[in-house]
Amino acid sequence: MKKNTPRRLLLGHGSGGRLTHELVEGTFLPALNNPILASLTDAAVLPELPPGRPALTTDGFVVDPPIFPGGNLGELSVCGTVNDLAVAGARPLWLTWGLILEEGADGELIAACAAGTASAASEAGVQIVAGDTKVVPRGKGDRIYAVTAGLGVVPPGREISDARIDAGDVVIASGPLGDHGATIMAARHRLDAGSLVSDCAPLNGLIESVFAAGIDIHSMHDPTRGGVLTVCNEVAERSGKRLILSETAIPVRPQVRAVCEVLGLEVLGLACEGRVLAWVHRDQADAALDAFRAHPQGAEAAIFARVEDAAEGAIPVVMETEVGSTRPLDMLSGSDLPRIC
């Protein structure tokens, strides 16, 4: 722990006065060190953007527990926003980082999340250029919440859109699905999930490497909340096409299946925080798979679905089951509640 990190957060750490100053100077700046942030001006004044179209996104992070196997809320707050930019085809550049802390929260937890933010930003090659800290009274929040916004640029000539999805496309998952969601659920319910860790990671390096290999990606999504079920249903609705998933081809770790069995959860409804689903034409399927697998983050990439034209009245997303039947795949309804037996 940094010597200036408080043991417990006080309301005064969010007052804007000396305690806030100490928290920022003692804990955040050393971790997130960069000249734009260090100027501590009211607004970060940025260099001119590289050519292309700017992309802007924002996301809030409230995960319980805030530290989990394979990551923490700080890392998540960077990866979530970086990945939202990256799957839109943008190269992420700058992020803002807003914290809402609970009075009494453990200073070491805050410092760990700041360190996680710093390491994820460094891995993604982005800078945290502006920040804010508020402290709410005990019981009005849960230790630490973070909100990030991210600015990036879509390079000229790159077009990522569900409108480009067409019959004949295949869908690639960059790695096993549900690791993050299963890790969180196992941690929350004190289940021993063995070596399972969150997949939380910035995806921009992987995605740029696939573009660099000359792959024409039609569309991309990161299956976060709601998992693959939500992404596939939303894509089917927006594109007007039908998605057919192959149960045997869906990459899922045995530990993730086991957590789902024990807790009664739907595997495909689990969140990922470091996986991308990419739509490419089937003629490029092998090349795309090779490109994904050539990057360490895509080593376990797999093609798990295909796109067809949707017949009138047909269910938009279906799965071919491992025993050779089919069933529809709908979004989750509400939160996925545990079953009794």
């Binding site: 807790l263 069933r327 529809p328 509400g334 509640l337 079953r339 037996c341």
Partner: protein, 368 residues
């Protein structure tokens, strides 16, 4: 999971389907088989097995979902208990969205009622220990599978002197409603796929009456696609040959007498009582009530004011639970009643027949 891969092998399934089809061809009528276990409902739907059966075999779901058969006044009582001072109500997750007469646990929770989801009665007991000034009431629902752990929590509360831990008894046992089903004149069930998990606890001999008293065959099966299809094939052979016996096809975990330790624990704490099942009404000896020694832990004995029980108009959950109709025959199915806005209990739990049909059986119509 560590299940053998052949239990999910499409070639094994295809061979079983072929066997089923060839027997079905020899029959001059449709054979109706029923599963009575929510996990079977879920497994059949999840693998798309119903769609693979020939027309001569109809596989229907019975009262196997514990949430679905819990009557509305149980939920009314749970909600009334949550309104008592210094009281927390703990529940398994899938009861949360089941409609009560006026609300649901989920809605009451959003309005500030102290209702907590737990994965095990032990979690509720721990909560009672940690909050000695609050009364912690666990909603004890489920079948033979949840009864032992609930009984164990009660016994532990007794020995540990945790006086503020109570349950609202709602546990049910499977054989009595199955007797009602075979006596039902409206419904003709030719054979039962018997619940695997329940049988691990009870053993399979408690289902002998089906074959011996009613000449209806049964097969205890596990939950993999091959397990279920083997059960269908076994029952079909029995029906075609005019035989009736209880086949134990899940002998890797099911014995004739079951788990004696668990049975003793249940018998120490609970006794059979008449209880109401949604769709069936009251069935003698089909519920588990607390023995008089444990009356001080029975939240059902606390005097609370209940609203007049109200079942939603048009809801056909009762007929669905008895297997008289398939979910799409209910006028509310996929229209007013959907998983995100359930009208009837069968649409709530993923084990509910209607929810399973909604999520897994429809291949036409809009998904949302």
């Amino acid at each position: 999971m560590s299940e053998a891969p052949e239990l999910r092998d499409p070639r094994v399934i295809a061979a079983l389907i072929g066997e089923i089809a060839s027997v079905a061809e020899t029959m001059d009528r449709q054979v109706v088989l029923m599963e009575v276990c929510g996990t079977h409902t879920h497994a059949v739907a999840g693998a798309g097995l119903r769609r693979m059966l020939p027309e001569g075999v109809r596989l229907i779901s019975g009262p196997g979902c514990p949430v679905c058969v819990t009557p509305v006044d149980y939920l009314d009582r749970a909600l009334a208990l949550a309104d008592l001072p210094d009281t927390t109500v703990c529940t398994f997750g899938d009861l949360m969205r089941v409609p009560s007469s006026l609300s649901s646990l989920e809605r009451a929770h959003a309005e500030g009622s102290p209702i907590e989801i737990v994965y095990s009665p032990r979690d509720a007991l721990d909560m009672a220990r940690a909050n000695p000034k609050r009364q912690v009431i666990f909603l004890g629902v489920g079948f033979e599978t949840t009864a032992p752990t609930i009984a164990a929590a009660i016994a532990e509360a007794e020995t540990g002197g945790v006086d503020n831990f109570l349950i609202l008894p709602g546990n049910k046992v499977m054989p009595p409603p199955m007797r009602s089903l075979v006596e039902d004149q409206e419904l003709k069930v030719d054979g039962f796929l018997l619940p695997g998990h329940v049988s691990v606890l009870t053993g399979w001999e408690c289902f002998r009456f089906l074959a011996e008293d009613y000449q209806v065959p049964g097969a205890v099966v596990g939950f993999s696609p091959a397990d279920i299809m083997r059960g269908v094939a076994d029952l079909l052979h029995q029906v075609a040959d005019g035989r009736s016996k209880i086949s134990n096809l899940y002998s890797r975990v099911v014995s004739p007498q079951g788990n004696r330790v668990a049975a003793d624990m249940v018998a120490r704490v609970f006794e059979p009582v008449a209880t109401a099942w949604r769709g069936f009404g009251e069935i003698p000896d089909s519920g588990l009530g607390l023995r008089p020694d444990f009356a001080h832990r029975d939240a059902g004995l606390i005097d609370v004011e209940l609203p007049p029980p109200h079942e939603p108009t048009g809801c056909a959950c009762g007929d669905v639970l008895r297997g008289v109709i398939d979910p799409p025959e209910c006028p509310l199915f996929a229209a007013a009643c959907r998983p995100d806005s359930p009208v009837g209990a069968c649409m709530v739990s993923s084990e509910g027949t209607c929810a399973a049909w909604y999520r897994h059986e429809r291949l036409t119509g809009t998904a949302r």
